[in-house]
């Protein structure tokens, strides 16, 4: 139909691989997009070397935000927290394989913002976390 709703996005939206809360977890963070009310929580388990072994997301949102959360978590399994700190906007766009306008970009980047705020142990997620 069109690029924005590529098959992989619809697939991951309908049947996400990383949906669910992890209990117990080593890192958790949640936040929302005030424009549309999308809400995402991300839980991580991390081994002694600081590598991510398991990840799960919960909450609600549009297909773009949910699919990007799912693809993002898939991409960070086995990566170190330091590597996660280095992720940016372009990494999400590469995962989704699409271009996005400014409004939908916020949907796509919400999960990265939540993830990085959790990894940095911040009290509040900031837009600066997802700028390249």
């Amino acid at each position: 139909m069109d690029d924005l709703y590529r098959e992989i996005i619809i697939e991951r939206y309908k049947e996400p691989h990383y949906r669910g809360e992890l209990d117990p977890h080593d890192i958790t963070f949640e936040d929302e997009n005030p424009l549309c009310g999308d809400h995402i929580r991300i839980d991580l388990r991390v081994d002694e070397q600081g590598n991510i072994t398991e990840a799960g997301f919960s909450g609600h949102g549009c297909a773009i935000s949910q699919a990007s959360a799912d693809l993002l978590l898939e991409s960070i399994i086995g990566k170190s927290l330091e590597q996660v700190k280095g992720l940016g906007k372009q990494d999400i766009l590469d995962l989704l394989g699409i271009e996005l306008g400014p409004v939908r970009l916020k949907c796509a980047l919400l999960s990265l913002k939540v993830l990085k705020a959790g990894v940095y142990g911040m009290g509040e997620a900031s837009d600066a976390l997802v700028e390249d």
């Binding site: 139909m1 069109d2 924005l4 709703y5 619809i10 309908k14 424009l35 549309c36 009310g37 999308d38 809400h39 609600h60 949102g61 549009c62 297909a63 773009i64 939908r104 949907c107």
Partner: protein
């Protein structure tokens, strides 16, 4: 048949008045604009009036003693007279130009309420309010310990007036409510709400942002103490709105913003305020926009507000019938007979952002989100809705295109 109200020739002429409706939004995909509750499109007459003002008359108003200043002042004040007649105010001194509905409500909250309300006083609002009629009162409540109570919204999208009557026994000072909901489409019984407020000794503020553009609103018939509305939702430009207030009440209120034009005399340590309406209009106003609002009023008046309302009612009834045919689609709010041209809906479990993004691919401009009414969405347990809203330039064909596009969205999400 296109409509009982506009014949095909007349409707074609209306369409020609709005050049933006002729554009394509994607190659080969013409625009269908269904977002007038957010902002309306502008007719050529409004665009040309503002263009002509800048080409021929541009000057600052009220002070200059030269031809341009006099022309600009005459046009700007002429627009005020047009607005006064449009809502049947008694005098143009009752027409305060503000930036928009939001600023007009804030003016009342900052000027009238801070001069008149004390700790423990009650302001009654409703659960369906736009943030612009919630947050100014929340700020005031936090600052002055004002109490806020809310008329509940019933499942059918109407206000629970029985609860309202009970709240009135607590001697409220102000009842502030929207005339028509920007989400549910509900047209509230404003005259009755105001009558009851007055009988309880309260003043009444009407948020007319969605009503004034769409049907005849008569402030004297309503007996409203204040009414706020925006030009940009009634075919006029952004940047200008109106606060109507009864002259005796406005007269007794302290100024809002201080600066030029709102003063009679200024000393180093004191000032005396200008007369109405200028007392509330500090600084150089949006002159071209005010004049543009006057042109919008002319356009609406020429077609006739009663005919516009009748046409939109036909269109809304048609839309409600067609939307009901879409499986999994739920429109929130009352039946067509009780609503204006706004339909907010959910489509199965598909997120409204996805719905509106996909509709955009088919050229349809609708809105997704909470439409600045988060508490109302919480009331209905919905994070967001998709909203299609109508104005005089929409047609049944637009609604048919909406319904076909919604069917395609459902196919994609299967």
């Amino acid at each position: 048949m296109i409509s009982n109200t506009f014949n095909p020739t007349e409707f074609a002429r209306i369409l020609q008045d709005f050049p933006i409706l002729n554009r394509e939004v994607h190659p080969g995909v013409p625009l269908v604009y269904l977002d007038s509750a957010a902002t309306s499109q502008k007719p050529v007459s409004v665009i040309q009036t503002m263009d002509e003002y800048y080409r021929q008359n541009n000057a600052n108003i009220h002070r200059g003693i030269h031809v341009l200043a006099e022309e600009a002042t005459a046009q700007y004040e002429g627009a005020r007279v047009k607005v006064c007649r449009f809502i049947n105010a008694r005098s143009e001194r009752e027409i305060i130009f503000a930036r928009n509905t939001t600023e007009a409500i804030n003016l009342v909250a900052y000027s009238w309420a801070r001069a008149n309300l004390k700790a423990g006083d009650l302001v009654i609002l409703t659960e369906m309010e736009h943030h612009s009629n919630l947050v100014p009162w929340q700020i005031l409540a936090a600052e002055r310990e004002i109490r806020l109570e809310f008329i509940p919204v019933m499942d059918d999208g109407n206000l629970d007036l029985d609860v309202y009557r009970q709240l009135l026994t607590q001697e409220p000072r102000l009842v502030s409510f929207m005339h028509m909901s920007n989400v549910l489409g509900t047209i509230n019984p404003a005259k009755e709400i105001i009558r009851l407020a007055h009988s309880a000794g309260a003043l009444a503020l009407v948020d007319g942002a969605q009503s004034v553009p769409h049907f005849k609103v008569d402030v004297q018939d309503l007996d409203a103490d204040f009414m706020a509305f925006s030009a940009h939702k009634m075919l006029g430009p952004t940047g200008i709105g109106v606060l109507y207030g009864k002259e005796s009440i406005l007269d007794a209120m302290p100024p809002f913003l201080g600066g030029g034009d709102m003063i009679k005399k200024v000393m180093l340590r004191s000032f005396s305020a200008n007369s109405l309406p200028h007392k509330f209009e500090a600084g150089t106003p949006a002159i071209a926009e005010g004049i543009g609002l006057g042109a919008a009023v002319d356009y609406l008046t020429q077609i006739g507000m009663d005919r516009i309302a009748a046409y939109e009612h036909e269109l809304t009834s048609y839309a409600m019938d067609r939307l009901a045919e879409v499986n999994g689609l739920t429109v929130i709010g009352p039946q067509a007979a009780q609503r204006g041209g706004v339909t907010a809906f959910t489509l199965a479990e598909i997120h409204p952002h996805d719905v509106s993004q996909l509709l955009d691919r088919d050229g349809l401009a609708v809105r997704a989100g909470h439409h600045c009414a988060m508490p109302l969405h919480q009331r209905f347990n919905l994070p967001a809705t998709t909203r299609a809203s109508f104005y005089l330039y929409n047609s049944r064909a637009d609604i048919d295109r909406l319904v076909s596009a919604l069917e395609r969205v459902k196919e994609l999400f299967g």
